[in-house]
């Protein structure tokens, strides 16, 4: 049986919001979810300790390419042992290991939901997330070696997550023909949430009432999530960032980016931007 369900995206593309909405629909009948108690894909299935235990040697002597190679084995083993559906969040590109293999093992994958967001908006949000200048965020967006939880990111229980550059990240999933993939746009989730979420539920073979989805959407508007964060904090907020749920809008780049910055992003990622119709 295939039990792994991947909620995937480049960072700051709506992954957490999507998980909250699915959490509300699947586990709370559309009611409000405590953002500090999200159950869908909240548990990291791979940590340094569990990875090293699986490998039976130390992973910190591995190169990034080797980490991807062994992570694929880890996910495969994890998926083969799973007895029920497990949601997993990832920001990693679906790296190609060789002609036949990619990071995400299709043998155990039930579904991948990839959420993509206009890279111009991603840049603004990424700058806030890493507490860096916009120009630096643009650089990161084009950095093939962009990695979360790398050795330079402070002490962590996590195994490095190799995000790659934005175009590579998006394309790696979009071109994963062997994987059952639902590819959604953040902007569509904002503008026609019921339709998008109904499609995902169908993909999960769990059709639900439209009213339940409407209720989930209504209960988890960005302003409500931001209110929750203001009142109770958010455990997934990075240490350097003041707020996680910032604006959540589409098109806020028009106020935040200069023409030079916009040109830089478009020049670097024009192929995928055009492919996606942004």
């Amino acid at each position: 049986m295939k039990h792994l369900i991947w909620i995937c995206s480049y960072p700051k593309s709506g992954n957490t919001w999507l998980r909250i909405l699915l959490d509300s629909i699947l586990l709370h009948d559309g009611n409000s979810v405590d953002i500090n108690r999200i159950e869908i894909a909240s548990r990291r299935i791979i940590k340094r300790n569990s990875f090293d235990e699986f490998l039976e040697f130390e992973s910190d002597g591995l190169t990034p390419t080797e980490i991807i190679y062994y992570k694929q084995k880890y996910y495969l083993d994890y998926g083969l042992k799973a007895t029920e559906d497990i949601f997993i969040k990832t920001h990693e590109a679906n790296w190609k290991i060789n002609e036949k293999l990619c990071l995400i093992p299709e043998e155990v994958t039930k579904l991948c939901v990839y959420i993509v967001r206009n890279p111009l908006d991603v840049v603004c949000s990424l700058a806030n997330y890493h507490a860096i200048a916009i120009d630096k965020a643009i650089q990161l967006l084009g950095d093939r070696n962009y990695t979360l939880f790398g050795p330079e990111d402070g002490i962590s229980y996590n195994v490095p997550v190799q995000v790659g550059d934005w175009s590579l990240n998006v394309s790696s999933w979009l071109n994963s023909k062997e994987l059952p993939l639902i590819f959604i746009k953040y902007e569509d989730l904002l503008n026609k949430p019921v339709e998008i979420l109904s499609g995902i539920m169908k993909g999960l073979n769990q059709p639900v009432d439209q009213s339940l989805i409407e209720s989930a959407v209504d209960n988890h508007k960005f302003s409500r999530l931001a209110n929750q964060e203001t009142t109770h904090g958010f455990f997934e907020r990075p240490r350097k960032t003041d707020v996680f749920f910032r604006k959540g809008q589409s098109g806020s780049w028009q106020e935040e980016l200069s023409t030079r910055q916009v040109d830089k992003v478009i020049n670097a990622h024009h192929k995928v931007i055009a492919q996606l119709g942004y």
């Binding site: 940590k47 040697f57 002490i155 240490r239």
Partner: protein, 302 residues
């Protein structure tokens, strides 16, 4: 044939090949462990998880990683290495890691994952999950004048009164480039652990007068969301310490593979009963290692 001699964990190693990371020893006629290069036939065995070989064979414990190296450990005193990669640093990384762990277990040691240093002529352990900064803290303590005993594997044995002793491993420490920079501890001739990684092996200026030291404190490192620069020490009772020790056994699965689990658990209980356990909660910051070392020093002085 040129033979190399090393001393680690109270054992003398005789090797056909040089080993970066072990402390040289004068030649002797009766080494405790003999390391040779040889060909190991793994065709009768299937790969576990697609990359691992782990078998108890009539000749000993066979451990290998696909396309990289295979090792055969017999009776705790003989290791045959069959390197399958030309990257010597890589197969030696496994040799000094997992293989050394298994070898020590075959020699009756309790193996824990952590560093150790000397304070008041006792060995104090720093244990914690991988990536917690154990080596960086150990280096910061070394800079304060406390001798480093081991960087990675802590090997423990007990005397007839159940008193635990930690055995000295090596004069080397492995550190990431950023830790080296932060601690200003760069050495001209420091070598990369692997050509492709920004991690280096440093040789420490230390004497290692004793082979073993009586065990004192066991510090368990833990990450908490604390304000920058804040730390919290918490005493652990025997049961709590036992739980943490159990979590930090080095290559715990090997104990099961080689049938040594019962002995190891008995030793863990003995250790929990005879050591002073302290939980050290710290932040995610990599830049506070000197401060952590200072706090540990202050704690021990109290």
């Amino acid at each position: 044939m040129n033979l190399y001699y090393y001393k680690a964990y109270g054992l003398v190693f005789q090797s056909e090949f040089s080993i970066a990371g072990l402390t040289s020893e004068i030649a002797c006629e009766n080494p405790d462990v003999v390391l040779t290069i040889g060909t190991l036939d793994v065709t009768p065995y299937s790969l576990i998880k697609g990359f691992l070989i782990k078998e108890i064979t009539p000749e000993g414990f066979l451990y290998g990683i696909k396309d990289l190296a295979t090792f055969l450990l017999s009776d705790g005193n003989k290791v045959i290495v069959d390197p399958l990669t030309e990257e010597t640093e890589l197969w030696q990384m496994y040799l000094l890691g997992s293989v050394m762990g298994a070898l020590l277990q075959q020699n009756g040691f309790l193996t824990l994952h952590g560093s150790a240093f000397v304070f008041n002529n006792k060995a104090h352990l720093i244990l914690g999950a991988s990536g917690m900064g154990k080596s960086s803290i150990a280096m910061a303590l070394h800079q304060k004048g406390y001798e480093l005993l081991t960087d990675d594997i802590s090997a423990i044995k007990f005397d007839s009164n159940n008193k635990p002793y930690l055995f000295v491993a090596s004069k080397h420490i492995k550190l990431w480039e950023d830790a080296i920079e932060h601690l200003s501890t760069a050495q001209e001739d420091m070598a990369r652990v692997r050509e492709s990684l920004p991690k280096f092996r440093l040789l420490l200026d230390t004497t290692h007068d004793q082979v073993k030291y009586e065990l004192g404190n066991v510090f368990i490192l833990n990450i908490k969301r604390l304000p920058e620069g804040q730390f919290a020490f918490k005493h652990l009772n025997t049961m709590q310490l036992l739980r943490y020790l159990n979590q930090n056994v080095y290559r715990k699965k090997f104990l099961l593979d080689m049938g040594n689990q019962k002995d190891a658990f008995f030793m863990l209980s003995q250790l929990a009963n005879n050591a002073f356990g302290t939980l050290l909660n710290r932040t995610h910051s990599r830049t506070d290692v000197r401060l952590v070392a200072e706090k540990m020093e202050k704690f021990l002085k109290q």
